[in-house]
Amino acid sequence: MLIELMGLRKILIPFTILGLMAILYMNFMHWNEPAESYYNSMYLVNRTTTVFNGILLVFALIIVFLSANFYKDEQNHWSDYLAIYMFAVCGAMLMVGAHHLLMTFIGIEILSVSLYVLAGSNRKKLESNEAGMKYFLMGAFASGILLFGMVLLYGATGTLHYEKLSTFLYSHTTLNIGFLYSGLILILIGFLFKVSAAPFHFWSPDVYQGSPSLVTAFMATVAKIAAIASLYLVLNQVFVPLHHLYDVVLIIVSIATICIGNILAIIQSNFKRMMAYSGISHAGFMLVGILAVDFNHWDLIAYYAAGYGIANLIGFGVAIVVFKSMQNENISAFNGLFFKRPILAVTLTIALLSMASIPPMAGFWGKYYVLSAALSKDLLLLVLIAIVNTVLSVYFYFKVFVAIYARRADNTPIDVSGWYKGFLILLTLVLIAISLMPDMIARCL
């Protein structure tokens, strides 16, 4: 904002990118350091949070790059949009690093309140208003439930700090069971709302479809991965002694999430809505990861999240320019894309192949790791259902391929600048790189 007053709008995006890179650098300074805590030990920095925060920061960087093109026509509002994106990233990082349930709650709220604004940011379009309002009502409701769960937990244990909570849960067997169980269930409901898992997924397709495309990309990557990472850390740092209680819930929820996401994605004709359902089913797979992966193998979830997020960002990066030129957000907007813009078509194909988890891609390795962890926990039925659904999911990604390669193109040209194509190619190379050496990456995390 200050920069805008000084008439330096041109350096706004480079400045933001530099700032994010500086934060990324400082984040990775903690790579091999012992765990450190800040703010009266309410915020913890260790290897796990460093990696998840690094992933979120890289995604935020990509979003800022894409925003230069997406908001080209409304340069007056660049500073507002960028500021709100940065607030949201800040909230996401607080969620991941939180070591106190209050910090978790504040992180979730910073992220969500920024996203309510962004979802409704296209004021002239009724769809965007509707998406913002729906997201706001559902999100505020979920935060209320989450907060009440935390309060009941406070009543049962007398603290909200992760470490104190977990020592309390380990050392006391005769707790006030009613408060504790209902608190745990309400906290789980709040988190499942935020990751859009099955019984609480209904907001996500509408919100994804109505929001501006870049905001949808942000919600599908940064917001979802922050919520998954936060849920994983809360469950594994605090509630391990109670895992016999929430394991059953997570098994049922993840089966339902995977099935509903894939089956409803098949009948969609709007690309963003289809991506919303595919994101729901990927959230289901990440929930399987939360359920099955031991705490010292969190790198598998990080790998899944990184592969899913980059593929998603490439997909939306292509979709943004195509939708902008075609004035249409259906899958039919991609008709004949290969003959008009071969580079965009090939990058989109690689991204969607990864999301459909075709073998050599990152999506496949992510699912392979998660499901083999589930197999080692004897969750055979869950794994079978997940594999059947993976096969099903290939169908709706191939609908996009059919549109790209087999349908006849119309004459609308698709404007895209050279550097934008170069950026998408770079992202695709990154995706291929993490696909080709999954073991190595998972090991060095």
Binding site: E130, K134, G144, L147, V151
Partner: protein, 110 residues
């Protein structure tokens, strides 16, 4: 740290607050699920957050642990921010459809 195994929800001074806030919370939840006016839903969400605040203060006073009262301040700030954003969204919708009925928000389906 104060262990709270002694809390017995039926014979304890804090239990009246527990009942009261659970009732308030339930009213809030029912309001969100049943009312169709966006402003009333907003008020019901506030009711849910304030039920949580009341319970926090009650637990905190009962155990002599100030952590709960500190949390309440943060929750109040968060609730204020949420209301500000919610009302802004409501105004921009009202400009488009001249109504605050959320049943009219049904342009996207499937």
């Amino acid at each position: 740290m104060i262990a709270l195994e002694v809390i017995d929800i039926t014979s304890n001074p804090v239990n009246k607050y527990v009942y009261l806030s659970i009732i308030l919370f339930a009213i809030g939840v029912m309001g969100v699920l049943m009312r169709r006016n966006a402003i009333i839903i907003l008020m019901c969400v506030e009711l849910m957050l304030n039920a949580a605040n009341l319970l926090l203060v009650a637990f905190s006073a009962y155990t002599g642990n100030v952590e709960g009262q500190m949390v309440v301040f943060f929750v109040i700030v968060v609730a204020a921010a949420e209301v500000a954003v919610g009302l802004a969204l409501l105004i921009s919708i009202y400009r488009n459809i001249s109504s605050t009925d959320i049943n009219l928000l049904n342009r996207m389906k499937g």
